[in-house]
Amino acid sequence: MTAILKTEKLRVEYRSREMRQKTKVALCGLDLEVHPGEVFGFLGPNGAGKTTTMNVLLGFVPPTSGNASLFGIDVRQPIARQRIGYLPELTYYYKFLTAEELLRFYAKIFGLARAEADRRIDELLKLVELEHARKRPIKSYSKGMQQRVGLAQSLINNPDLLVLDEPTSGLDPLGRMKVREIIQRLKKEGKTVFFSSHELGEVETVCDRVAIIHQGELKAIGSVNEITGRHASLEKAFLEIIGFTTP
């Protein structure tokens, strides 16, 4: 099966601004493949390199060495991002715009025709349950509503691949459940979802495959059952893989 998202020997180094400090290796030879239609969980402790991987995939950070591609196109080319949706962690959207205006703005960037954009905006605001607030400025939204408008913007182009960076971060249980429902719905529609999360229970519920990364290196990859193996839960397996031993 052809991979939708692929990294080969991906290495990212950040040069320190301090004279005496060493270069920090954020990613070290990362090999990943995500196939069409799967929900792929990308796990790791804080500072493991999850966001850096996403930043490379989205063209924000150039790799020091190795390759990364989306749909077989090098991530450095803007056209590679035509068929993806991206939800960053903790984003505060333009406060002076309404949800409808924000979605229309992103629709214009994707070159959606007016009628198509109108239809898509209606669909998405219904999906994320923000129809009642579509004419309200985003500055009046709660955190959960802002996250949902973020999810809507990531889906404006009806993407084949959705990249979500900790989509449930900071949400209450109801908000988390809504996001989970949306991911499951997208899975049913045959979309590919690549997301990072610290909520391991959630990952167990929605993911087909999981990768665990620690200190920039890939430690494990496989289905949730393969990763969990002899452990009682994904959390216990995760802790062992990253080398944390419980007393």
Binding site: N55, L58, P78, R81, Y86, P88, T91, F105, I109
Partner: protein
């Protein structure tokens, strides 16, 4: 181009939904109307002083709007992390810079239009005439000067991290050029080498914003600027805008946005 216009549209919406412009516009109106209501020395020609003060306020307000609006564009996108979903779309960094520039420049143009309509109405109420072509030349040159300021500030916003430091530096540079720029060649003559060459280089390198200051044209109702010189001045401004924007694109292309 559609991407550039989409980004520019958001910048324009931001200007008219924020209070900055309205505050400056209302303050200018109040000061001018207050002065216009007073009959000083029973002098009919006093209207020229009124026009001069009104235009000075318009110039100050427009530069404040141009610098403050532009200086916060990219830093605010970074701070609020809206730069990430934006650049994750098929939008190049050069398009983003061009869109931000166009948005800020058009927003300044809209603000200028309001200011000049008010100025024209105020002057007409005293002088009973509408020298529209003079206003057109003054406003266009003013707008193109603001284009240089916007492009310079946009470049500054990518070099200096904080919008406040960028704004301060841009105000000093723009003020310095407007007040001192035209005298630098004379200053250079009084200096010894190598300072003389350095000052001369600065004189020839900086955009001479004072060339666009044709307030006297409308204050004293002078004849129109020949259209050839007028067009050359606009081309001169476009050249500097292109240089600063190219610089901004180069700086932004190398920046990691994480």
């Amino acid at each position: 181009m559609k991407n550039i216009f989409a980004v520019a549209g958001v910048v324009i919406k931001e200007l008219y939904r924020r209070k900055d412009f309205y505050v400056l516009f209302i303050v200018t109106i109040l000061i001018c109307l207050m002065m216009a209501s007073v009959n000083i020395f029973n002098d009919a020609k006093i209207v020229r002083y009124l026009k001069e003060i009104c235009l000075l306020l318009v110039w100050i307000s427009s530069i404040v709007i141009a610098v403050t609006t532009t200086a916060r564009q990219i830093p605010a996108e970074r701070e609020n992390r809206t730069l990430l979903p934006l650049l994750a779309k098929p939008l190049t960094r050069a398009q983003l810079i061009a869109g931000k520039f166009l948005g800020c420049w058009l927003a300044c143009g809209l603000a200028l239009l309001c200011f000049y309509i008010f100025f024209g109405a105020l002057a007409a109420s005293r002088e009973h005439q509408w020298p529209l072509l003079n206003y057109f030349q003054a406003a266009m040159l003013h707008w193109f000067m603001l284009g240089i300021v916007v492009a310079l500030t946009l470049l500054g916003s990518l070099v200096f991290a904080a919008p406040s430091s960028n704004s301060t530096i841009c105000f000093i540079v723009v003020g310095g050029i407007l007040f001192v720029g035209r005298h630098l060649d004379q200053v250079a003559l009084t200096l010894l080498e190598p300072t003389r060459t350095i000052v001369y280089s600065i004189y020839f390198a900086i955009p001479h914003l004072e060339l666009f200051d044709v307030r006297d044209l409308v204050i004293h109702n002078w004849p129109l600027i020949p259209w050839l010189y007028f067009s050359l001045a606009l081309l001169y401004a476009l050249g500097y805008m292109a240089v600063f924007l190219a610089g901004a694109c180069l700086v932004f292309r190398r920046k990691a946005v994480n």
